[in-house]
Amino acid sequence: MSDHAEHSGPGHIVSPMILVGTLVALLVLTFITVAVTWVNLGEFNLWIAMIIATIKATLVVLFFMHLYWDKPIIGIVFVTSLLLVALFIGLSMTDVDQVGPQRIPDYAPAVQQSTGS
């Protein structure tokens, strides 16, 4: 638990090297996020941006927020909230995909005219 002799309280003390490393990684990833927008990859731009953001968020959570050294219950709480968010947004997206176009009468750009009205 304690890698420092002078440390007598609870909780893990993160080494400064890990914190500096995390900071550098976050700054580099921020630059990459911006740089990716200079290239047009169509749909993939959004996905790349989200993947990079998720890597950054993971670094922040694991090292700045100590989750890496925390008890499993903390991870369970955090991951549960993420699962709920995924459920929330994921189901909404399937709704937009499938039900959305039909909900607004006659607004269905991808649907053939004969199925309209």
């Binding site: 309280g9 609870p10 900071l23 941006a49 990079i52 219950i73 549960t80 909230s81 997206m93 009468p105």
Partner: protein, 351 residues
């Protein structure tokens, strides 16, 4: 308390050990952070739904955000997250001066972030890049006159906001359809007027602009309960044709409009060829201000919490044995950073 003769002052009497108190505090903080994540998830969900339905609005509107300022703010917030993590480390080591210094730096980061945010907000306020009816059309803003500016000049300039306001008067159902204004919805009469206007504008592009302008105008009346047929008759030559089309399938409107539903109000003044300007841009700014505003409130709250632990640090409340409040405030500050990590690419870096 007699059985806790070694009970330190910072240990609550309902805890057996310092370790137990620390674990409880941490779990409680993380539970709170989980609710915070879910709170923001509501706004992210609104963002996702609107972006999926109307990608053209996001592609058009995001260019009014300053990528550089957004990027600098990202760096500021990440750096302040780092100083916070260092402050927690110093607090755990019982180094009072270093902790206070790092907390002050973190606070400075918060001030910097809000300062830059204020510059961005002020710019948007000046140019009418705002939510709802406060949004001002950007061509009008830059002084480019529309083709039939004389006919309904100022009316046209405020079209997007004005439009949805008018349509939303009769009821929720119509208001809902109004969000998709210009997509040629023919389910109710008000929006079929919309469809008609949309179709006419495309069909009559160039030659019958003033007539189609009338159609656009009259659809406000249609929305307020007048029969669509009546408004179509009033609007002159092209409207009856379109009205006939619009009732069964709104075929003309659908065939003529852009696949993504480039909409009527914005295009009413688009004869001068400024490219595709979608309608309902104000909804992007509504989402933008809600998300960044809620995030900004969290920055302010975080700064308040940091000030509190800074004062307590200077007062000497913390030691190597006890620095849990610094740790927990740190967690909150990192969450604020976490939210911004997603907000920055989603709002500023739309491709």
């Amino acid at each position: 308390m007699s059985d806790h003769s070694d009970h330190p002052s910072y240990l609550g009497h309902h805890y057996d050990t310092v370790e137990q108190q620390f674990d409880s505090g941490k779990l409680g903080m993380w539970l709170f952070l989980a609710t915070e994540i879910l709170l923001f998830a509501g706004l992210f969900c609104a963002y996702a739904i609107y972006r999926k339905n109307h990608p053209e609005v996001f592609i058009y509107a995001h260019q009014f955000l300053d990528k550089n300022l957004g990027g600098i703010n990202t760096l500021v917030l990440i750096t302040s997250s780092f100083t916070m993590a260092m402050a927690v480390r110093m607090a755990q080591l019982g180094k009072k001066q270093a902790t206070a210094g790092l907390l002050a730096l973190t606070l400075l980061g918060g001030v910097g972030f809000l300062g830059i945010k204020a510059v961005e907000y002020e710019h948007k306020w000046k140019h009418g890049l705002l939510w709802g009816t406060k949004y001002r059309d950007q061509d009008a803003e830059h002084g480019t006159p529309g083709e039939h500016g004389g006919e309904h000049g100022t009316e046209g300039e405020t079209a997007p906001g004005e439009h949805s306001l008018r349509l939303s008067l009769p009821g929720v159902e119509i208001a809902h359809a109004a969000e998709d204004a210009g997509h040629g919805a023919a389910g109710n009469e008000a929006t079929s007027g919309e469809a008609a206007a949309n179709g006419t504008e495309h069909a009559a592009d160039g030659t019958e602009h003033s007539a189609s302008g009338d159609a656009t105008m009259s659809e406000g009346a249609a929305a307020e309960g007048a029969q669509m047929d009546a408004s179509a008759d009033e609007s002159g030559e092209p409207a009856p044709i379109v009205g006939g089309e619009a009732m069964p399938h709104s075929g003309l409107a659908k065939g003529a409009s852009q696949p993504q539903g480039m909409a009527a109000p914005a295009e009413a003044g688009e004869g001068h060829g400024t490219g595709h300007k979608p309608s309902n841009v104000h909804i992007f700014f509504g989402i933008y201000f809600l998300m960044t505003g809620l995030h900004g409130l969290h920055v302010i709250a975080g700064m308040g919490a940091i000030s509190w632990v800074l004062i307590r640090t200077l007062r000497g409340d913390f030691s190597a044995e006890y620095s849990t409040p610094v740790d927990l405030v740190g967690l909150y500050w990192h969450l604020v950073d976490l939210v911004w990590i997603y907000l920055f690419p989603l709002l500023y870096l739309i491709h």
